[in-house]
Amino acid sequence: MAVKSSSGGGAGAKPYKPLSMSAKEYQAFAKAREPARSVWANALRAFLTGGLICLIGQGIQQFFMAAFGMTAKQAGSPTVAVLILVSVILTCLGVYDKIAQWAGAGTAVPVTGFANSMASAAIEHRSEGLVLGTGGNMFKLAGSVIVFGVVAAFVIGIIHWLIGVWS
């Protein structure tokens, strides 16, 4: 299916120019046209947003400690649950993704980003059905985090067990 080159073209037709760029040339070409994104600006945005989310988390935790007399450790789980609920609501409203575009890792790294990835996958695949769509795809993005976390925890647990057995 090689394209017949310009030789067959009528008069005035642009001569067919084969793709002459090598991969290297293309990369240089594409790089020059990429929007310039400063690493520093991105890092600053991530710092401010991520810090703010943790600050809010600290506030919620202090509230649980003050209102229900919980220890910092006991307050951890309800704090995370509240943050997840807020994140899912913001995802439903389409707000979280807008913030995320500005904040980058600042919204992805906190636990709210984990919830956002699950909620958006659950909503996005809803049209394929509750079981195959929502149920099957909810962990599409979050799954790798759980898999690697669990495997790492297992290996570390086994190492601790072996240390305990030997010592």
Partner: protein, 117 residues
């Protein structure tokens, strides 16, 4: 008040590490998150995550690294209580609240909300 300051600084700092992994190391978000979770798990395996939580509060418990920390924490707690089988049974002990909440709220969201665009 200091607790809020440290939560902001440490939490923000962990997010900066994630951003640098995006921009400088050119990792995908999935790779970055997986890496951070494993790092959190290793740090807790060495016994350093608890001091960080004492120091930074939510700055250490809200980022995803804390998920790795909680997985290891559950495994080690039940390891001490029940022996080697605890490593398997204990992994989700502490993280149950986070994962369950995320599943339940996300499912309810999918029932109610229509996808946008």
């Amino acid at each position: 008040m200091m607790q809020y300051l440290w939560a902001f600084l440490i939490g923000g700092g962990i997010c900066v590490i994630g951003q640098l992994l995006f921009d400088v190391a050119k990792l995908t978000p999935a790779h970055t998150m997986s890496l951070l979770v494993v790092v959190g798990a290793i740090v807790d395996g060495l016994g350093w995550y608890d001091p960080l939580i004492k120091f930074a509060g939510a700055g250490a418990t809200v980022p995803i690294t804390s998920f790795g920390n909680s997985l290891v924490h559950g495994a080690l707690t039940e390891l001490q209580r029940d022996g080697w089988i605890g490593v398997i049974t204990g992994i989700f002990e502490v993280t149950s609240a986070g994962i369950s909440a995320a599943i339940i709220f996300s499912f309810l969201a999918a029932l109610v909300v229509k996808p946008k665009g």
